[in-house]
């Protein structure tokens, strides 16, 4: 029971980071119908920013976090403007290929600048683990879960009730009609990329606190997992990304504990395949039909 609970909490820890990253995929997909394959590499950019500001420049952790968020947002917005915006009315496959290209560009730029060897992420929090009746939980885990839940609640509130959030939902349903309402779709898309990348920036910091190694390709795996989480939950649906991330994290961690460590990815992808076979729109996806 103790093992089960602590694995559940571990799974929640990874899963909620996947969820944070998955939000970037799903929000961008919702509005421009593009799988932004460069999103994983935004995590890498955030991680390098954090590592350099912390280790080389000796900045404090909160300032380093802000720097990581700022750079992620800057990169995200710039990539959208330069690489995706000119292709907005082209076939979707063009922007998809471009996204893969941007991802390779970012990885190889990092390789050129920082080299292939991974850099250690410094310990930013030195707090002893917490104990609850026999279960030991690291402080990083608690912090990650609390921060992520808070962020998701904030995001949900923003999208549901704010003027900009409603504009975002309207544009993601039908961007032409959104324009007829007076919504500047370009601004809305920029805002969407900015929010997605800010979450990825925070996600990268939390990820590095759990897996403290920063390398040019470090974004690929969490990026892929987060993408799968977004599809699992229903791509384009914000609560879906949250649910998908947590389900994946927990499945991964329980497989590692009870079946086999090597099998964990296979089980996760297996779950994805089964869910998509049974419900092609994902866990929370709905099929919308046109009414006459």
């Amino acid at each position: 029971m103790t093992l089960f609970l602590s694995q559940l909490i571990n799974g929640l820890h990874v899963g909620i980071i996947y969820a944070l990253i998955a939000l970037g995929y799903t929000m961008v997909y919702g509005i421009v119908k593009l799988i932004n394959f460069a999103h994983g590499d935004i995590i890498m950019i955030g991680a390098y920013t954090a590592v350099i500001t912390l280790s080389t420049l000796g900045w404090s952790a909160p300032v380093a976090l802000l720097a990581a968020i700022a750079l992620c947002v800057l990169f995200g917005i710039t990539i959208e403007r330069i690489a995706y915006k000119p292709l907005r009315s082209s076939p979707r496959i063009s922007s998809l290929i471009t996204a893969i290209g941007v991802s390779m560009l970012l990885q190889n730029l990092a390789l050129l600048i920082f080299g292939a060897a991974s850099k250690p992420f410094p310990t930013v929090l030195n707090v002893p683990p917490l104990r609850f009746s026999g279960i030991q939980i690291s402080f990083v885990t608690v912090l990650t879960i609390v921060v992520s839940v808070l962020l998701m609640a904030l995001l949900q509130g923003f999208v549901k009730t704010s003027r900009a959030g409603k504009a975002m939902r309207a544009a993601s349903e039908d961007y032409k009609t959104a324009q007829l309402m007076g919504i500047n779709v370009n601004t809305t898309i920029t805002l969407t990329f900015a929010i997605g990348c800010a979450l990825a920036g925070i996600g990268s910091f939390l990820y590095c606190m759990a897996y403290p190694a920063v390398s040019p390709t470090m974004g690929s795996l969490p990026g892929l997992k987060a993408f799968i989480a977004a599809v699992l939950g229903g791509i384009g649906i914000i609560p879906g990304a949250m649910l998908g991330g947590v389900v994946m994290g927990i499945a991964e961690s329980l497989t590692k504990a009870y079946i086999s460590t090597q099998m964990s990815d296979a089980v996760v992808y297996g779950i994805l395949i089964i869910v998509l076979l049974v419900k092609p729109t994902g866990l929370l996806g709905k099929i919308t039909r046109e009414k006459v």
Binding site: R169, T177, Q179, L180, M181, N184
Partner: protein
């Protein structure tokens, strides 16, 4: 109020609109009638700048709007009810109406207009918390019209409001269009249902394969032999 001067629109190599010119005056209902593919919706989308105009000019309140991006036109007083209603189906009725008032910043006036829209469409008030995708086709048309009214437009453009609706509902919707016009709203109506459109409009233009082939007071067009033969089936 609206003056369209010899506009040309292309879809790639296809020349969709040929030197289209027409005019809508303050307080009028003007309808554009014609068969499927005649260029009626294309004309509306060109005015809204959802489609680029290759040449010609569009004047709204004596100002050229041809180069103004679509999202800025609502603020100038030009609202469009798009073809096929295009309500935001995952948002509630109230949220849809709020999106209509997106460019406006006076909360007091917005709640007044909300009441005005509810007075035209009482059913929207009953269903304000419902997700728009669950409404019937007629209710969605009402929502699309209410949403456009929320921007307090000077000119309301409507694209095929009768599409896919039962005859009773069409009658109901057209009565409301007339009421809105009697309240002072200028309306540009695009319709395949020529009979209904001519019955409520003051003037009309007949479009055929991207050309204006006939125009005049609606009452005259209703008895015009060519129009009767081609569009009224009598």
């Amino acid at each position: 109020m609206l003056k369209v001067n010899q506009i040309n629109v292309y879809y790639g190599a296809i020349h969709a609109l040929h030197d289209i010119s027409f005019e809508v005056k303050q307080g009028e209902i003007v309808s554009l009638i014609g068969a499927n593919g005649a260029g009626k919706s294309t004309t509306l989308n060109a005015i809204s700048n959802l489609l680029p105009t290759a040449s010609g000019d569009i004047l709204f309140m004596n100002q050229s709007i041809r180069k103004i991006p679509a999202y800025q036109l609502v603020g100038l007083g030009l609202a469009q009810v798009p073809e096929g209603r295009r309500v935001f189906s995952r948002m509630t009725v109230l949220e849809n109406l709020e999106m209509g008032a997106y460019t406006r910043h006076e909360p007091g006036h917005i709640s007044q207009d909300l009441e005005l829209v509810y007075s035209h469409f009482p059913r929207l008030k009953e269903r304000r918390k419902q997700v728009a995708g669950t409404l019937s086709g007629g209710e969605q048309q009402m929502l699309a019209m209410g949403r456009a009214l929320m921007s307090r437009p000077k000119l309301l453009m409507m694209d095929e409001p009768s599409m896919g609706l039962s005859p009773i509902l069409v009658q109901e919707i057209f009565t409301i269009i007339q009421q809105i016009n009697q309240g002072g709203m200028t309306i540009l109506l695009v319709e395949q249902n020529a009979h209904m459109a001519l019955n409520i409009s003051h003037r009309a233009y007949v479009l055929e394969t991207g050309n204006v082939v006939k125009s005049g007071p609606s009452q005259e067009l209703l008895v015009d032999a060519d129009v009767q033969k081609a569009y009224l089936g009598t």
